[in-house]
């Protein structure tokens, strides 16, 4: 089970003076169970790419296969696709609309055509999973919640559809450090429960380095590199070419080696950095 993307090219408003090509021959393959970070400068095509994955943007050219659903088909099974790929858009809290939190969260499962008992069960589970108190919050209006709570409710609305693949567009944008940590922990929890594959668009290099197995680095509508965080953040030429900032762990490691204290390994997470420092001290 995997997501296969082959040679996808996309142009906004084609054949008008405003035409702009956002994706140019994007090819990659994401395996089930991977935590993939999508990074790149603003305007590099990240959002356009992930919106292809559940056919919010229809393919213009190229091929996409999500699990066994072929998006190249004339009429792909959209209902099943959207139940498989859960998309949390940027600032999802601005999409809440119903009178109560419970009703809002059940919007997705309802659209999937599930029966009432199943819906109720999933809604309770989703609200609890995102760390809210179901009994306490179910009858409140989503508009009277705090920003962080709203975002959780919105995420609950997506995971109540129990997607196999969870796609998030800048889920921690505009949150305070504590809010960021909470959302990241939540994503980890969801990955462990029923969304084994996670794809996250982010501008926050620290969290990307800390959490991702692989990184798709976008540059100008193309994939500049699809590799592990270590391969990307220690490739100085690539970083310069794509104007990418390093995670702080990598910055520290590079600065140390500049000062003549090179580490025995190439750490990208805090734990790895600490381990490397310990090892260095032990050996010399």
């Amino acid at each position: 089970m995997s997501i296969e993307v082959k040679d996808v090219t996309y142009t906004y408003s084609p054949k008008t003076p405003y035409a702009s090509t956002a994706l140019k021959g994007v090819t990659l393959r994401i395996e089930e169970g991977e935590y993939v970070g999508v990074i790149g400068k603003t305007g590099s095509g990240k959002s356009t790419f992930i919106q292809h994955l559940n056919a919010l943007i229809r393919l213009q050219s190229g091929e996409i296969k999500v699990y066994d659903i072929d998006l190249t088909a004339k009429k792909p099974d959209l209902k099943r696709l959207r139940g498989t790929v859960g998309m949390v858009m940027q600032y999802p809290e601005y999409q809440l609309f119903d009178e109560t939190v419970e009703k809002d969260v059940s919007y997705g499962p309802k659209n999937l055509g599930l029966d009432d008992r199943e819906i109720k069960e999933r809604v309770r589970e989703a609200i609890t999973l995102v760390g809210l108190d179901y009994e306490d919050i179910r009858d409140r209006s989503p508009f009277e919640l705090s920003g962080g709570q709203k975002r959780r409710v919105a995420i609950a609305g997506v995971i109540a559809m129990r997607p196999k693949v969870l796609v998030l567009d800048e889920p921690i944008a505009g949150l305070d450090p504590k809010g960021k940590q909470e959302i990241l922990a939540l994503v980890k929890k969801l990955k462990a429960s029923f969304s084994p594959t996670v794809i996250v668009v982010s501008h926050d290099m620290d969290s990307v380095a800390e959490n991702c197995d692989k990184i798709a680095l976008f540059s100008d509508g193309e994939i500049a590199r699809f590799a592990s965080p270590r391969e990307i953040f220690y490739d100085d030429e690539l970083l310069a070419k794509t104007e990418l900032d390093c995670p702080s762990v990598v910055k520290v490691a590079k600065e140390l080696s500049r000062l003549g204290m090179s580490l025995p390994s190439m750490p990208v997470t805090k734990a790895e950095l600490i381990a490397a420092l310990r090892e260095r001290r032990a050996h010399g």
Binding site: P17, Y18, Q51, N54, L56, K79, R82, G83, G86, M87, M89, P92, Y94, Q95, L96, F97, D98, Y107, G108, K110, N111, L112, F143, G157, V158, M161
Partner: protein
């Protein structure tokens, strides 16, 4: 942020795009009056050629220009049909049960259709070559004499330009919300009218909530910068009349003058027809 434009504006750097928007607006006003004085087919032809010439000069593909007529096709058909069936004249051409068509009816239907199409085409050239912001500035400038009688011209122009600026923002917002709800399995395309209307609720509620939030934020931001509508302020883009504006105005006005001369003095149509008699 991309330079967001909307509506019809067709970006290009043509002499017509560069004209002073006030001049363009006034020319269009004169044009509209003129169209009502067109008496015969020859003059419809002249105005049509005039529009095509201006379109070529402004580097607007004719395909794009004629697309604007699509918006009024239904209106043209209905008014033509009404005139065709309900005009009584002298020369009866066709009669069946209660329907009777006269020669005068046909002529009136054709002329009305031509007139409506002409009325659509030239003002479209204005909106194709002028940004909404330029138009607002032009209106403010043209209305500014009304300040003397205490009309809040600046406030009106400000409201107009904020509204214009909000349209693309709201459109973008609507698109985003539609995508987000689609991602949650929303279906906007199937079902009857009632079902489709109901499917829009999850889009409209966040849209309105967002619009009010934006309005609040904008008001706060303006207050924070001590905005006052009575203060004397300068413009970022100063409108200046140039020789090009003068030439354009003279050219257009002389074409319009042809129409009036023809109607009241020359009667082109009859001259041409008399050649064939």
């Amino acid at each position: 942020m991309d330079n967001i434009v909307f509506g019809q504006y067709y970006p290009s750097n043509s002499p017509v795009h560069r004209l002073d928007p006030r001049v363009k607006l006034l020319i269009v006003l004169f044009y509209i009056v003129t169209v009502f004085f067109v008496a015969d087919y020859a003059m419809y032809g002249v105005l049509f050629l005039f529009i095509v010439a201006v379109a070529l000069l402004s580097k607007i593909p004719l395909r794009v220009l004629f697309r604007t007529v699509r918006a009024v096709v239904v209106l043209v058909l209905i008014t033509s049909a009404i005139n065709l069936f309900f005009t009584k004249g002298e020369e009866l051409l066709f009669s069946w049960k209660f329907i009777s068509i006269y020669k005068e009816g046909i002529e009136r239907a054709i002329k009305l259709a031509l007139r409506l199409i002409l009325l659509m085409l030239f003002p479209s050239l204005l909106t194709l070559t002028t940004t909404p912001m330029e138009l607002t500035d032009a209106i403010e400038s043209l209305l500014s004499p009304l300040k003397v009688i205490k009309v809040p011209v600046h406030a009106i122009a400000l409201i107009m330009s904020i509204a214009l600026r909000m349209i693309p923002i709201l459109m973008e917002e609507t698109n985003k919300i539609i995508l987000a709800q689609k991602a949650r399995g929303a279906d906007f395309d199937t079902g009857g009218v009632l079902k489709k209307a109901k499917a829009m609720i999850p889009v409209l509620v966040p849209l309105f909530v967002g619009a009010f939030r934006r309005a609040d934020e904008l008001a706060l931001a303006m207050d924070a910068r001590c905005y006052s509508s009575v203060a004397k302020r300068t413009k970022y883009k100063v409108m200046k009349l140039t020789v090009a504006d003068l030439v354009a105005a003279l050219f257009c006005l002389s074409v319009f003058a042809l129409v009036f001369l023809n109607k009241y003095l020359w009667h082109f149509d009859e001259m041409i027809l008399s050649l064939f008699r």
